[in-house]
């Protein structure tokens, strides 16, 4: 009866950057964010059978990640004996416990309108990146988002510079088309 199937094999390729972005805007520490993403994947693996298929995989993973972020803040706060959580996650008591349900992005999650818009844009970009072939997405991310030098990427992926520019060109064309539909 589940509409959405679960397939952990390509979780990391598909969602790790998305989850990472979600985390980094909330904990603002690279290492912590990476750990939290890793924890999320492992926790998700363990509770895979609880996935009812009512939401998409991504929504489900985000809901687990949210818990992990909250736990993280609880942990660092407990030293002082004050378990006050200061991040703006959705904290009404009604939805306590039903984090496996499908949930739309909660409106209390963001503080200002521009952040909201930024998140939407980021979401659109991630969606479009997900549609690219893996190689194009990799190259595009390294070049455009991480801002690596052409040479570095060529060495790492073992391709020539002209090869790289062709991939970049295809990726940019696809991204522009995709964002035109979803954003501009």
């Amino acid at each position: 009866m589940s509409n959405n199937l679960i397939n952990p094999n390509n979780w990391i390729d598909l969602y790790s950057d998305y989850l990472y972005n979600y985390t980094i805007s909330r904990v603002s520490d690279k290492m912590v964010a990476q750990d939290l993403v890793q924890d999320t994947f492992l926790a998700a693996l363990k509770s895979m059978k609880n996935f009812k298929g009512e939401s998409s995989e991504r929504t489900w993973l985000i809901s687990i990640l949210k818990r992990k972020i909250i736990d993280y803040y609880r942990k660092i706060n407990s030293n002082k004996g004050k378990a006050e959580v200061r991040i703006g996650y959705n904290n009404d008591s009604e939805s306590e416990g039903d984090w496996l349900e499908e949930r739309v992005a909660d409106p209390y999650d963001k503080t200002a309108e521009d952040i909201l818009q930024n998140n939407e844009l980021g979401e659109a970009i991630h969606k479009c990146l997900g549609k690219l072939p893996k190689k194009q997405a990799d190259v595009f991310k390294m070049k455009t988002i991480q801002g690596l030098e052409t040479e570095v990427i060529c060495n790492e992926l073992n391709i020539t510079a002209s090869n790289l520019w062709v991939i970049i060109h295809r990726a940019r064309t696809a991204m522009a088309d995709c964002l035109k539909e979803n954003w501009f």
């Binding site: 790790s16 950057d17 972005n21 993403v37 970049i168």
Partner: protein, 87 residues
């Protein structure tokens, strides 16, 4: 035509220069050639415009990505856990 006065460039090259410009990697002379090309080529004008828009959107969004090495190690850990579960 000697190389010196080669001002007209084909669309393919124009697009390549346009891509490079997005990463600030094109030379001054290349930029002149690109702009000259854009004067008479509508398709490339459109491409350039969209390309610049894309760059702007990505800069604005402040999207970040994980390090490749980090992702790789994450993948290994994950696969280990995956196998443990399946067996």
């Amino acid at each position: 035509m000697s190389k010196k006065i080669k001002v007209l460039i084909p669309c393919k090259e124009a697009n390549h220069v346009c891509d490079k410009t997005q990463y600030n990697e094109s030379s001054f002379w290349e930029k002149i050639k690109l702009n000259f090309h854009l004067l008479y080529c509508k398709a490339c004008r459109k491409y350039s415009k969209n390309n610049a828009k894309l760059t702007q959107a990505i800069n604005e969004s402040e999207v970040k990505c994980m390090d490749k090495k980090c992702k790789e190690s994450m993948k290994q850990e994950f696969e280990k856990a995956l196998q443990e579960i399946q067996h």
